[in-house]
């Protein structure tokens, strides 16, 4: 199994069960083990029995803040376990007036980074039975024995360039914070694509986007996609055609990314949710990079009070077109 730290889990369970039983919260959003040992799925806990299923391990990837949109309709007060990215997602929703701060209790969990099963399986082979963890090392357990590897190399793409592993907004911090991280290669893929010619870039995106099924899982997982009616489902005007062709794929992906301009918290949930591995974060990061370059550094979701850059302006702003 993949329990990282039972001690940590007990501590979390103790605090949240107190709050749930005392009625401070009606529902707790956490994680429970999924069908396979490498899956941790959202847990909606309403009772002590539910809390017995709670887990906190290296596979708790799902961003729970997104579920507040639905759960606050049926519950007066909801508790959420938040990692760094979940907490920035919460700020995002707060900024969009999609949640009320005083109806949510946030339990902060500093996150060591989520592991990617595909990478683990590629290293250990298909008969990987489970992992054990200690001090930045992972032990891969297979039928033929155990192999020890470094943890860093098996992080999910979305976690490798994470800047804020600690929650930035919380009511109670449950574990020891670990401080801001460095992300020197955050824009590396974007920089590389920028050096290509337009033709090469178009060919790259045409190929990547050709896999798109338009299942809209990226939208569904995204904490900034909170419109009550999404443009892809709008009937009049019907912006998004249903046809399977590059033109429609480009329209969807450019507009999806653009809706996150100045709002995307770079949590990578879209890319994680994508069943065909489209590098969606490259589009998101391109916008983050450009907006930082043109209108000053801004990290979405860090501070709910700061105005997002595309909602404001300065008279002396630079422009990306040739005329000022």
């Amino acid at each position: 199994m993949a329990e990282r730290n039972l001690e940590q889990l007990e501590k979390i369970r103790e605090v949240v069960s107190q709050d749930l039983l005392s009625g401070r919260i009606e529902l707790l959003l956490g994680w429970e083990k999924g069908h396979y040992w490498w899956q941790s799925r959202p847990l909606f806990a309403r009772s002590k029995d539910d809390l017995a299923k709670l887990t906190w391990d290296s596979f708790c990837a799902v961003n729970l803040s997104r579920y507040l949109l639905e759960e606050l309709k049926d519950h007066q007060k909801v508790g959420v376990l938040v990692k760094g990215c979940d907490s920035r997602a919460f700020n995002r929703l707060l900024q969009d007036n999609m949640v009320e701060r005083d109806r949510v209790v946030l339990y902060g969990l500093p996150c060591p980074g989520i592991l990617d099963y595909k990478l683990l399986a590629a290293e250990a082979g298909p008969e990987l039975k489970g992992i054990a963890e200690e001090n930045g090392k992972i032990v891969l357990k297979t039928a033929s024995g155990e192999v020890e590897v470094k943890r860093d190399q098996f992080l999910m793409a979305k976690c490798r360039e994470c800047l804020y592993p600690d929650p930035v907004v919380y009511d109670q911090m449950l574990l020891e914070p670990q401080g801001k991280k460095e992300a020197p290669e955050r824009f590396k893929a974007v920089d590389e694509l920028e050096t290509l010619t337009p033709e090469e870039r178009f060919a790259y995106w045409e190929k990547e986007l050709s896999r798109c099924l338009r299942c809209y899982a990226c939208r569904q997982a995204c904490p900034y996609c909170s419109c009550r009616e999404c443009f892809v489902e709008q009937e009049n005007p019907r912006w998004q055609g249903r046809a399977y062709q590059p033109s429609e794929n480009f329209l969807f992906h450019l507009v999806r990314a653009y809706h996150g301009a100045g709002r995307c918290i770079d949590c990578g949930e879209c890319q994680r949710a994508c069943p065909v591995d489209i590098p969606l974060q490259e589009l998101n990061r391109k916008l983050i990079k450009d907006i930082n370059e043109l209108y000053g550094d801004y990290e979405a979701g860090l501070d709910a009070e700061l105005e997002p850059p595309l909602l404001t302006y300065r008279p002396d702003d630079p422009a990306a077109f040739s005329e000022k």
């Binding site: 337009p198 178009f202 995106w205």
Partner: protein, 152 residues
């Protein structure tokens, strides 16, 4: 949309869609007309209330349905009829222009210009330049709807 001017004997004529703000650039186009200046008939003008009204999907839809180039024209910064529409538009369109270039469009395909209502000559000149640039670049096939057909 049709490239009605597409003359098979003389070669390629591009289709350019110009989104013009009601208060400045559209009036600038009017002035170009009443002053009897000529500019290429490749340009189709679509009037929008303000360049801050531009939805990026307008641009992408134009490319899907046959445009070889798209131009957005608005009031000079500081002169917006709604005071701040073009300041917001400048930020949004800047981010959007870089995004479409990142997706593989040539920078010339999508442009933004400031044209006031007294600049009829500038209006004519910008349309002239844009047409010349797109003509040199050739037809756009990127993002073209597979079902789209040129009606000539």
């Amino acid at each position: 949309m049709s490239t009605a001017l597409n003359d098979k004997t003389t070669g390629y004529e591009p289709l350019i869609v110009a989104f013009c703000c009601n208060w400045c650039s559209y009036a600038g186009g009017d002035l170009a007309g009443t002053s009897r200046m000529s500019y290429p008939a490749n340009v189709r003008v679509i009037r929008v209330p303000c360049c801050g009204r531009m939805n990026p999907m307008f641009v992408l839809r134009a490319f899907q349905r046959g445009a070889d180039g798209v131009l957005v024209a608005g009031c000079h910064p500081g002169d917006c009829h709604y005071s701040t529409g073009n300041y917001h538009g400048r930020r949004r369109l800047s981010a959007f222009k870089r995004l479409v270039e990142f997706a593989g469009f040539e920078p010339e395909r999508f442009e933004v210009r400031w044209i006031s209502s007294s600049e009829g000559d500038k209006f004519a000149e910008e349309m002239e330049q844009m047409t010349a640039k797109i003509k040199a670049l050739g037809p756009n096939r990127k993002m073209r709807d597979a079902r789209w057909q040129s009606v000539t």
